[in-house]
Each structure stands twice: as C-alpha cells, then as structure tokens.
Symmetry: C2
Subunit: 790 residues, 2 copies
C-alpha cells in the first residue's frame, strides 16, 4: 500500500485552512450602516430558513435511501455496508458545502456594497474573496471526503482474501456511496433552489415592476427579500452543491477506471506500477489536490487597480487568474503523470478492438484534451450569449417585430448553439478515448474539474455582486455605488453563462466515465442498441430530460403564481405600504417561495432516482446502460439549448439598457422592442436558472444510481464482474434450444424447459467461446470453414 | 418464383382507377361564379409555379445523386446500377403524387365553396373526395412503383448464381433506390413547402392584420394569394410527398427483413415457405395493397346528412370511415398472414439471444400492435392539442398573465407530451420485437401505414376546406358559407394534428425497421455504444434534429421578413390598393415566397443527406448505425415536442374566438389574454408546420441514406454480409496482439505491425466463432448447407 493518499488529504486541509483565512478577512471588512446590515441579515435569515427546511426534508430522503442502500449491501456480496456511512457523509458534506457558500455570500453582499461606496477594486476584492471561500470550501471538502473514505476503505478491505482488483472494487463501490450522497443532495438543491429563485424573481417582477410600477429591489415590494434570498439559494447554494457533486463523481469515475487499468495490466502479466497498483487509481485525486493549490495561487492574481475600470478590465483580471491556475494544473499534471504512472500501461483493454499498450504521456495528452474542452466550451458559450455578438444582435433585431419573433429567434439560437458544443464533445470523447481508453476520458474530465475552486470562485462572485446591488438599492445609497456593483454584476452574468457551459461539459465527460464504470461493474459485454429492449430504453432515456425540464418549468409557473397572489394581497391589505409608511411582510413571501420550492422539487427529483432503478430491474443491465446513454445525449442537448437560449434572451434585453441600433434606428428601454425582449427574458428565466442547469445533475445522478445498483443487476443476470472470476466451466450451449447445464439453470429459472434462457445462453456462450479458443490455441488448428461445410 | 406480385399491382391499379373516377366526379361539380373561379385559378397557378420551380431545382439534385449512386453501384459488387432508374422513378413518382394532390386540391377548393353555399353535407363530400383522390394517388403510386420494380428486379437478379438470400439482397438494395428517391423529394417538398406556407402566412398577417388592420384573406392584401398557395404546397403537396415516402420506406424495410427471415429459415434448414421463399417478403406489400381496398370501402362510409351538423358529427363520420378501414385491414391481415407465412417461422434470429421458432400468429399480433399504436398516438395527440382539454386550458389560463407565461406553458405542454408517446413507442418496439423480431417491428409499421390512403384523405380535406373558406372570403360570399367551411376547417385542424402524430409514430417504427435492415446489410454484429467513437456518433446524431429545426425556424423568419417588406412596399406604392380600386400584385408575393422557400430549403436538406455519408465513411458502419439511432431518438422527441406545442398554442388562441372562462371571467377575442395567445400561436406556426413535420422525413431519410451506402461501408470495413458469403478462411486471431493472416492485413493497413487492426480482429473473431459453431452443428444435422443455399 502506498502512503500517497496522505498527500491529497494534506492539500485538501491546506485549501480549507486558506478558506478560513479568507473568510476571516471578509468578516473583518466593514458591513456598512445599520440599514444595510439589517437587509443583509434579512437575506441571510431567509436563505438559512430555506436551507434548514430543505435539509429537514432531505434528512428523510437520506434515511430512506440509506435503508435501501443497506438492503443492497446485504444482497450483494461485493457491496459493503460501509456504502451507507459514505452516502450519509456525502450528503452532509454536500449540504455543508452549499451552506458555507450561502453563509459567506450573505456576509459578503453588504460588505461589497460598503466597499463599493469608495472603491471598485476593493468591491471586487471583497466579492471575489467571498467566491473564493465557497470555491475552496467545495473543492477542499470534496477532496478531503474522498481521500479519507478511501483511506478507511483500503484499510478495511485490501487485506481480505481475493485479488487486488476485486478488493479495490469493493473499496470503490463503497466510495460510490459518497458520490451518490453528494449528487442526490445536489439535485434537490439545484431544482429546489432554481424553483425558489425564479418563483421569487418572476413573482416580484410581475406585481412590482409591471402592476405597481416600482423599480426592481424596491423595499416596498414584499417579495424583494425573497428575490435576493433566491439569488443565494439558487445561484450560490445550488451551484455549490452541483459542482461539489460533479467534482466527486468525476474523481470517483476516474478511480474506478484506474482500477480497471490495474486489472488489465495484471491480465497482461505486467503490473509495472511503482505504487503497488495504486498509481492510476490515485492519480485523479492527486490532480484534484494539486488543482486546489493552483487555484489558490490563481486567486492572488485577480485584482484591478483602476477605480474607473470597466467590465472588460474586470473580466481580464478574472481570465488572467483562471488561465494561470489552468496552466499550473497542466504543468503539475505532466509531472504527476510522469511520476505516478508506469511509462507504458501494458494491455489496456479497448472494447471490441483488443488490447493496446499505452504510453503514459498519452494520459497527459488526455488532460490537455480536458483543459481544451473547458476553454473552448467557454468560448462557444460566450459567442452565443454575449452582448454585441451576432446571435444576441439577431434576437434584438427580431424584437422589433414583436414578442413572437423575439421568441422564435431565441429558441433558434439555443437550438443552433448545440452544434459546436456537441461536435466538441464528440471529438473530445473520441480523442481522449483513442489516447487512453475510457481512463483517458475520465482523466480529461478530472483535469477539467481540477480547478473547480477557481471556477466556482469566479462563478460565485456574480450573485454576491448582484446582491450587493440589491442592498445598495434597498438602503438607498448614491447611484455611483450601484454603478460600481453593476459593473461586477454584468461581468458576473457572463461568468454565470460560461460556468453553466463548463458544468455541462464536465457532466458530459463524467457521465461517459461513469457509464464506462457501470459497464465494468455489471460485467455485461457492451451495450448493443441492435436489441429492441435496449433501443426502447434509449428512447425512454432520451425522453426523461425533456419531461424533467417540463416539470421544472411548470413548477416555476405554479410557484410564481403563489407569489403573485401573496404580493397582491399585501399591497391591498397592508395600509401605507406603497407610501413607505407600512412595512411589508417579507417573511411571508420567503415562506411561500420556500414551501413552493420544496413541494415542487419532489416529483422531478423522485423521477430522476426511481426511473433508472425501475429500468434496471425490469429491463436488465444492458437496457439500463442504454437508458443512461439516452439521458446523457438528450440531457446535454437540452442543457445547451436551454442555457444558451436563456442567456441570449437575457442579454438581448440588456442590450436595450445602453440603447441599440435596429434597422438604422437607436432603440432604448421602454420601446415596444424592449418590451418584446422582456417577454423573451421571462421565458428564458426558468430555462437558464431552473431546468437548464439541472440537466447536468440529472445526467450524473442517473449514471451514479446505475453504478450503485450495477453489482446487484450483474448478479441477477449472471453477468457480474465477480461471477467471471470464479472457475470457468465448459458449457454445452452450442445450439439454441439445447439443454443447458445445471449451473446455467440455477442462474435463472425460465418457463421454457430444456431451453437456454437468453441470459443463460449469453453467459454460456461467452464461456464456451473462451474455452474453445483456448483449446484450439493449444492444438494450433487451422481448419478452413470451406472444409467444414462440405 | 411466385406470381403473387401481380396481386398488389392489380390492387394498386384498382386504387388509381377509383382515384380517377373520384377526380372526374369532383371536376364535374359546379365551380362557382367567375370571381371564385378566378381566385381558384390564381391559387392553382401560384402553386404550380412553385412546384415547377421546385422540380427544376430538384432535377439538378436528382442528376447529381444519380451519378453518385451509379458510382456506388460500380464500386460495390452487390449493388446493381438498376438502383439509378429506381431512384429516378422514385423521385418522379413522389413529385407526381404531390402534384396530383395539389391539382385536385386547387380544383376542389372553389367547388367546396360552391357546395357550401347550399349544403354542408355536399361541401364535406366535395372536400373529402378531393382528399380521397390524393390519398389514393399516393397509396396507388407507392404500391405500383414498388411492385413493378420488384417484378423487374426479381426477373433480372433471381436467376443468377448465388443463394436466394444474396440475390434477393441485390433486388432489395436496388429497390432501396426507389425509396431513397421518394424520401429525398419528400424532404425538400416538406421543408420548402413548410417554409413557403409559413413565410406567406406570417408575412400576410404581420402587415395585413396587424399593421393595416384588414381581416384575414382580404383581397386587398397582396400576400393573400401566396398565403392560400402556401396551404396547398405545404399542407397538401408537402404532406403527400411525405406520406408517399413513409409508405414506401416502411414496406421496403419490411421486405428487407422478410428476406432475412428466409435466410434464418435456410440457416436452420427448414424453409417451409409455400411461395418459394417469397411469403415473408411479399407480405408487407400485400398488406399495403389490401389497405388500399379497405380505404376505398371506408370512404363510402364518410358522409353526413344534417345540413346543420356541427364539428362533432363531421368528426364522427370521419372516425367511422377510418376505423372501418382499420378493422378491415386487420381482418384481411389475419387471413393474409395465415395464407402467406408458414405456420411456424423456424430459427428466427434474435440478436444476442440466439434463434427462436415464431408461430405466424405472432406476426399477426404485431400488426395489431401497429394498429394500436396508430390509434393511441391519435388519442394522446388529441389530448394535448384539442380545444377544451386540460393542456390547452392551462395555456389559456396562462395567457392572462401575458405572452411570456403563455409561451412557457406552451413549451412545457409540448415537452411533457413526449412522455406518453415515447413510452408508447418503447412498449411497441419491445412488444413487436418480442413477438416476431425486427420483422415484427416492420410489420407493425406496415400495418399502421396500410390505410395511408384513408389517413391522407382525412388529412388533406382540411387544407381544401381551409382554402374554400379563403375563396368564400375573397369573393365576398354570405357569412353562412364561411360558417360551413369553418366547421370543416376546424375539424381539419384536429385531423392535421392527429395526422402529424401518426406520421411520427410511423417514422419511429419505420426507422427501427430500416435500422435493423442497415445492420443486416453492413454485416456488423450490432451497434455497441460502449465504444467511444460509436457513442460520439450517438451525440452527433442527437444534435442533428435540433440544428435542423433551428435552420428551418430561422428560414421561416428570413422568408417572412422578405414578404413583409414586399407587402409594405405595395401598400405604399400601388395607388388605391386600400380602397379596393387598385389591384395588388399577387404574383410578386408568390414569387418571393417561392424564391425564399427554395433558397432556404437547401442547407437543411443538404445537411440531412451529407452528414450520414461523412459519418459512415469517416467513422465506419457501427458509428453510422449509432448516428441513425441518435437522429431517431432525438428526432422523435423534437417532433412530438414541436408538433404538440404548436397544435396546443393554435387551439389556445382559437379558444378565445368562442370566448373562454379565465379565473371566473369570460374572455374574448381582442382581450390582452387573446393577444398573448396570438403571440404563442405565431411561435407555434413554424414549430408545427415547418420544423416539426420535417423531423419524420429527416429520420427516415437518414436511415435510407445509411441503407444505400451500407454495402459499400460493409465492404470497406470487411464486415459486409456478402463478404461472409464468399470463401471463408479460417483466421488465426484467437488472442489479441497476435498476427493476422494476410487477408486481414489486406483489408486494412494499420501502423502497428503484427497486431490485428480492430476491424480485422472483429472480422477474424466473427468467422472464428461461426466456424466452431458450424462444425458442431454439422455433426448433428442431416441437412447440408450447400443444399440450402440453392
């Protein structure tokens, strides 16, 4: 065994310590006047109330799921009961990660406003520090949790009887519980948070802006606190849990595939790994640990000096820090791979193509593929959603003929934006696979996710700046303060869109890695869609993201209606509310959003978790694999479509704020075209903030549920990885309709007597083939078929 | 050889004769006053002008494609040059089918108006007779073309050396050319017609209704003739070509799979077919022929008596005729199957499960599955799109809070409607496969399509009634005439939505059958998505329908803008146009729509045809199969989403015409909610009339292109069905990494010396397996393989 595992533990702790230093620094900053502090406290209280209510509900889910997992662990020999504590801790860590982010964000908002009263550079520093706390919290907890459980599990299982591979499989199956816990919480946090934020936003706007004619974030609007709470529970806590889940799932999938490499090398008889078989398994977690350090270094570079800086300068500062962390990770990756992997990985299995010997530098190239995808997806996303680019300008032009043409143009933009991204993913999948098999795909995803701390810091500073603007408005500070926070907010909009592109890219690659791990765990020999049931499952899988999105959108509609009714009621019933003499009941609006979000997140959440289980047990492991592929393909498409359409509509609307040229005429806010653009933006809101960003969790969670039930499916259908590792018995199954031997019958009872059941036959013939090839290899026969046929 | 093939030829001719009788009857009806006749002539001239321009363009395409096909036929031994005339005739027949429909529709419109002056039953009779002419024209030409070419090809190829199976494969590969020709024309006709009709519609509405404030179909609007022409070229000619293509593709796929059954029986040594191996191959075309007769009988039952009948009675009459034809087809199917198939189909191959003996009644059950899918899909479609049902009422309610909520509700309705349809398809695929393998799936599709003549008659009467209403409006007839045609038009809207559901259901099943035929033709052993390149192709395939839809929608937008400019120009420049003293230049608007439609249909059309060719040659046959599956899954989802969202928006808007209750208040046309609903309908227009209905052609054409290049791909990669039928050489390829024999190396040069290339290895190992199984089989069976092959 190797002591290497202590390195990522150390790096994770380093990240968490740095996080605490940053947190202390943020808290030391001035929090502004009493009014600002009160608003900030209200937002914090609302956000905490939501999270607490959510966690109480999820605790019930965790208990039920734990019982189910314990059941699985008693049924399947290779799944340890330790999957249960791993699952529970995964769920708790995910909640804590979201909680840390939410707490610091609600601390940093008023402090950013206070800083913006005097200095833009300071405001950036405060808001970005808030983001950094969140980023490091998520990355640190993820690496810490994974490494600690890995350490515990290898001490529990690696000493047992059995091969390295099968013991390590037990370790990783238990570790999958950690990932499952993290991803389940992420799903509910994302969906619940997404519904919350859009219900409050749409509700506040429809009555406040449209009916009562008061500006956004006006303190007279009862829903305004709920709206600002929404930014925190949706964009901060939801996103934190989301990326925590992605990060863990990616590393886990890479570890599973690393274990498979060790098995391949063992099969080929050349285990030349310097770390007792641990090299390929620990590599992804080491890359993650190094990524934390790279991210910390990058954060020091993100600063501006000019108090009159514009968006471009802020964006440039962020890019500089980001690219530095990515480059540092790439360089560190080179040395890590050189150190941890054997120079040549011998006998790596390429499905359907036999085995290949892969030089370790190919694995490094795969990390470059991953980093390249991360860069390019940002580039594409920016093209389709950024102000002033052709797609957004097209939507602006189409707004001049009304809402309908605006909507058509936005939908078409979202749809056509799938082209470049899907081609990119396809090339990346193929390329990294050609380089180093599915391990290459997984390592590409891992390297992309390595700088999660930095990505999240850049992402999370946006909502903090957005909230800071809200605080400035509500506490009636001078316009210049709002102008400064608006610059940060505007940059934050771009980074949010880019972050969503990044999340879906990582989900696509991670899903593939999980998919590969799933196939390995079940022991099936591929997913052949030239079988009707497998193809039927592909159709069902493709449909799930569409129906999920529909449910999420309908939920936003229903929740927003509840909010509209309440705000209308308060405007009518609370005396003096419009004159500013009566105080609106902010708490009631927070409560309504909370209740609606929790109620509405149940159905899509349950659908995500239950459907793969049903498919797996009713249709079998191969159909479930196909279902996963269907969810992944359709989910990626709908994610890109919804995120980019929503982002483009948002910026088309924003274009009118500074004025925009349509058919030779300058057009401004308040014009008919602007109204059409507002309609588009409202349609885009649930797209880009509720259903779109949920897609990547849907994809990953589907694959994780599959992975956790994989051993049980493998055992039922007799294809299990472990079933193959017993003795190999020659079977009489040459001809269909012929009797099988007893062992086959024992595997599965079929109604038809003396006839091979399909599964039995497959298992038989698989063994038969192996057996006959071996026998003929020995005899070195070279009979021609022509001879046989005569 | 069997003379059975003369039966469908006879039935097709019967259908065509009956069509001519009906046509003569329609032409004998009174065509109304001079004004009505002039309008009708103008519409006809515009429609013919478009079709002629379209055909001139498509002729160039046909020439280029013919050269390419001729090239393929010289490269692949098993593809005859006869594929070229088959392709050309397929294209011509498709064009003729669309042309017949368009001509009769433009004759029947004014005659329906004339009939509606006195009698609703007569108006239904005239318009439905017009639809019948089109339905019988399409079905008759399809069956005639397929049967005639089949007759010619069996006489050309069946006498040659080689097995029944390989000769029949040549026949069917050449026949695939006919289907390819039909489907290519269908694509351009659908896309071009869809762009035309929506450009004219949106253009006429935006300037006429919105800007100038004149009613729909007002003769002062220069785009009004173009709008009515659009109904004919889009909904009539486009749909006719579409269903012609579907019908041919479905029957062809079933024939290919029927041939495979013969091979399975030969492999099992029990060819107990009473028609010299022709039974399973001819069954689908016989079902199609019988379906024509059933449809003719059904048309006699469609009549109403009451001059004051409402929509419900008209709908009931249509349903009665339709269900009668379906039941007649089912009954005839029972006898046909009993007669034409052996009581037990021995040794049918079920991929991955070995072979099974299938009783012929299982094939009959598969026809019931197909008929059931046809019925249920209509039911689901109606639920999501019909007036007064919950989904439409939800959209109506959401219109009260503005266009944005209307759009969100419509999108969500379209999205959620995928659930029931996809589950239905999945169950049907699985069920019909379990019953009788992929042949069962194909037969299910064939039986669904058997009553195409009736479906199309019901579908096509709608646009005729719509046009009749336009003629009434333009020639300023009394309101009661328009009221009568409106009843027919309203029923036509429902049948149009149902027809689209039917088309996508048939496309889904046909695509699967084509997919199965493709796998057979290439000789690959399945499509395993647990290979990175195959999975990458699945992603690309999934993306194509989305990008195709985006292109179609953008095209409508561009073309509509052209129209808007022209109508504005005429209003400004032609003196007295608004007072009715100046005559608008209708021809110019027709020309603009024509040009725009032809220009815009090129890119999506080319993408559909070229992409599978690139994927096939760059990534190989297995990846192309996966690409097809991706297009099918994603295409089905986007078709249902777009068709149903569009249909629901349309009827949500219509709900306001009679007045509708929202939150306890009656709301009418002209209200704010109605305006929001109009916005939704405008968004839905390109969804339901351009991109949505193109999806099913996209799916089928993709599979057909794959099918036609399948043999060449099989030959390149050495997996071809025919490669197996030459001499079979025992290969030394037991162990990966071992040297291959020369033939393997000759197949594909690989950089790595002494290592099997992936394709080589696959081919080797496949032969290896066959060899070892055959050797043992031969010891037990008394039948010699050589005997069977004759």
């Amino acid at each position: 065994m190797s002591n290497l595992i202590y390195v990522p533990i150390g790096l994770a702790l380093l990240g968490l310590v740095f996080m605490m230093v940053k947190m202390a620094w943020v808290k030391k900053q001035g929090a502004g006047n009493e009014k600002m502090q009160e608003i900030s406290r209200n937002i914090k209280a609302g956000a905490l109330a939501f999270l607490n209510a959510e966690y109480r509900l999820l605790a019930i889910f965790v208990v039920i799921a734990s019982i189910a997992l314990f059941g699985i662990s008693t049924m399947v020999e290779t799944t340890s009961w330790m999957i249960v504590p791993a699952f529970v801790v995964g769920a708790i860590f995910s909640a804590v990660a979201g909680n840390i982010g939410m707490r610091i964000a609600t601390e940093a908002n008023a402090r950013t406003t206070e800083a913006a009263r005097t200095s833009l550079p300071k405001a950036l520093q405060v808001s970005f520090s808030g983001g950094t706390v969140m980023g490091l919290g998520v990355a640190g907890l993820a690496v810490l949790g994974l490494s600690l459980f890995f350490l515990i599990f290898i001490q529990m299982f690696m000493g047992q009887a059995g091969s390295f591979y099968s013991n390590m499989t037990m370790v990783l199956e238990a570790l999958a519980g950690f990932s499952l816990g993290a991803e389940s919480i992420a799903l509910f946090a994302r969906v619940g948070g997404g519904i919350y934020t859009k219900a409050a936003d749409v509700g506040a706007d429809l009555v406040g802006k449209v009916e009562a004619g008061i500006p956004e974030d006006d303190p007279r609007n009862p829903a305004t606190i709920a709206d600002n709470v929404g930014d925190n529970v949706g964009d901060v806590a939801g996103m934190g849990a989301d990326l925590f889940g992605s990060y863990v799932a990616t590393v886990l999938a890479s570890m599973v595939l690393g274990n498979y490499i060790i098995k391949d090398m063992a099969d080929a008889g050349v285990v030349n790994d310097a770390f007792g078989g641990m090299g390929p398994i620990l590599l992804p977690i080491m890359i993650a640990g190094v990524g934390i350090v790279s991210s910390i270094i990058g954060t020091f570079l993100i600063k501006i000096k000019d108090n009159d800086a514009k968006e471009a300068q802020v964006q440039r500062a962020l890019n500089f820090g980001n690219i530095t962390s990515i480059l540092l990770t790439a360089v560190a990756g080179w040395f890590l791979i050189d150190w941890m992997l054997p120079e040549t990985i011998v006998g790596m299995e390429f499905f359907g193509e036999g085995t290949k010997d892969i030089p370790s530098r190919h694995v490094f190239y795969a990390t470059l593929v991953g980093l390249g995808v991360g860069y390019l997806i940002s580039y594409f996303t920016e093209y389709y959603t950024a102000l002033g680019k052709k797609p957004v300008m097209d939507i602006v032009t189409n707004s001049s003929t009304g809402a309908a043409t605006n909507i058509i143009a936005g939908l078409a933009t979202g749809m056509i934006s799938t082209f470049s991204s899907v081609i990119l993913f396809a090339v990346a999948i193929w390329g990294s696979y050609e380089l180093a098999g599915f391990y290459g795909v997984a390592i590409a995803a891992s390297s992309m996710m390595a700088t999660t701390a930095m990505q999240l810091a850049i992402d999370a500073f946006g909502p903090i700046a957005d909230n800071a603007g809200g605080v400035a408005e509500m506490s009636e500070l001078p316009d210049e303060v709002r102008e400064r926070t608006d610059i940060l907010d505007s940059v934050g909009n771009t980074t949010a869109a880019v972050g969503k592109g990044f999340a879906i890219a990582s989900a696509a690659l991670t899903a593939l890695a999980l998919f590969a791990a799933y196939v390995t765990f079940t022991g099936i020999d591929g997913i052949n869609i030239f079988k009707a049931d497998v193809l039927a499952a592909l159709f069902i899988g493709g449909m799930i993201p569409v129906v999920f999105s529909a449910l999420a959108m309908k939920s936003v509609g229903k929740a927003a209606m509840d909010m509209v009714m309440e705000v209308r009621r308060q405007f009518k019933e609370i005396p003096g509310i419009m004159e500013g003499t009566g105080t609106p009941d902010y708490g009631r609006c927070v409560e309504i959003s909370t209740k609606a979000a929790l109620r509405e997140m149940m159905l899509p959440g349950a659908m995500t978790i239950v459907t793969p289980i049903i498919i797996g047990f009713v249709m079998g492991p191969e159909a479930l694999g196909s279902y996963m592929a269907g969810v992944a393909v359709s989910g990626v498409l709908w994610a890109i479509f919804q995120n980019n359409a929503g982002g483009a509509w948002d910026n088309a609307k924003k274009s009118f704020e500074a004025g925009v040229m349509i058919n030779g005429e300058m057009t401004y806010k308040g014009s008919e075209a602007h109204k059409a653009a507002v309609t588009g933006d409202t349609v885009g809101d649930p797209f880009k903030d509720t259903s779109g960003p949920s897609m990547n969790i849907l994809i990953k969670l589907t694959c994780l549920v599959g992975l956790v039930i994989a051993p049980i499916l493998g055992e039922i259908s007799g294809t299990g990885a472990h079933a193959d590792h017993g003795q190999e018995i020659m079977m009489m199954c040459n001809h269909p309709g012929e009797a099988c031997t007893e062992k086959c019958h024992a595997m599965k009872q079929e109604g038809e007597k003396k006839t091979c059941s399909p599964d039995c036959k497959k298992a038989c013939c698989k063994k038969k083939e192996t057996a006959s090839i071996n026998s003929e290899t020995l005899n070195e026969t070279s009979l021609s078929l022509n001879e046989l046929k005569q």
